[in-house]
Amino acid sequence: MCATCGCSSDGKTTYYLVDKDQPHSHDHSHPHDHVHPHDHGHTHDHPHASEKKIIDVEQDVLHQNNLLAERNRGYFDAKNILALNLVSSPGSGKTSLLERTLKDLKGELEFAVIEGDQQTNNDADRIFATGTKVTQINTGKGCHLDAHMILHAMQGLKPKDNSVLFIENVGNLVCPAMFDLGEKERVVIISVTEGDDKPLKYPDMFHSSTLCIINKTDLLPYVPFDIEKAKANAKKVNHHLDIIEVSCTTGDGLPLWYNWLKSKVMQPEAV
């Protein structure tokens, strides 16, 4: 088990870089030759045996994850990579949105993708079919990605300078909210087949995201979803949130998403 990630306590995390010549799954047994940073800001004095003593710790529990997230963020900044963390319930359309985006913006932007699922390489295979570099992370029993997994996924993926890196998180609106991956923006996706009160039920996720995509708008005539109410609920939870309505099936609204994406891509400085 990996000491920094408690949730994969029995099922181990695996990394699979989809490879066009020879698709194979390699099971990194997670070699830990690198030292993750961890500074203790305290002094050690010498206690006598069996003497009780108080230690002031004052350390954030997510400290280890946050350090690794900052390390990832530094890597992305250095290479001018725009990293986006896509979160949603299972089935809201994260992979569909990526498939469309990767096809429609091919040639305009350079992409790489990290797929997070508990099991299977299905999503990575769908991404690979669009001609995009992709690594699948299988978390086993783990219900979210963490910064440590991203660090390892990056070792095989090696996204290009000035590229956009999409990280599709495990389908779950609860705990991915707590784990910074080092992303620049967090994008939460809901679909109109879910309740319009979803932002109120899972406020942490909506509070920590910068963009909300409402997907499957083609189904609006058939479902009781009140889109204005959903938007108002999302804004109540996070007044900074941008909202874009799309249908990955018909393509409606996707240009708004593409414009948002392009506005976030930083142009490399001209020398």
């Binding site: 990630c5 108080i54 002031d56 109540k236």
Partner: protein, 113 residues
């Protein structure tokens, strides 16, 4: 069940610090947990009893300082207690609020021997 990851994180921090102080056991642990930290206390309780078995926290007394979430209204500057992100300002009714405390999730101190 991210509470299990969180508990594992707490155990790691506590054991690292206890070992660095050459301690054999952790008798008490003091945690700061904000009411809007994203931790469900029932899940935490469950994860805790499972995860501390066989660690230096096996017989540890846990003290939790629950930190009540507060927000500040961006319109009228009122500070008030909140239970949800969508709570409105009690003075002006606005939802333009920013959280000022209540997201804490911290190991404050240990008593070791």
């Amino acid at each position: 069940m991210h509470e299990l990851s969180i508990v594992m994180g707490i155990i790691k921090i506590a054991e690292d610090h206890a070992r660095a102080a050459d301690a054999a056991a952790i008798d008490e642990i003091e945690l700061d947990i904000g009411t809007m930290s994203g931790i469900d206390m029932d899940s935490m309780e469950f994860a805790w009893t499972q995860a501390i078995k066989g660690t230096m926290l096996n017989d540890c007394v846990r003290k939790i300082n629950s930190i009540t979430a507060k927000a500040k209204c961006l319109d009228c500057d009122t500070e008030f207690e909140i239970k949800n992100y969508y709570d409105a300002c009690p003075v002006c009714g606005e939802h333009l609020i920013d959280i000022v405390q209540g997201k804490e999730l911290m190991v404050r101190s240990l008593l070791v021997s």
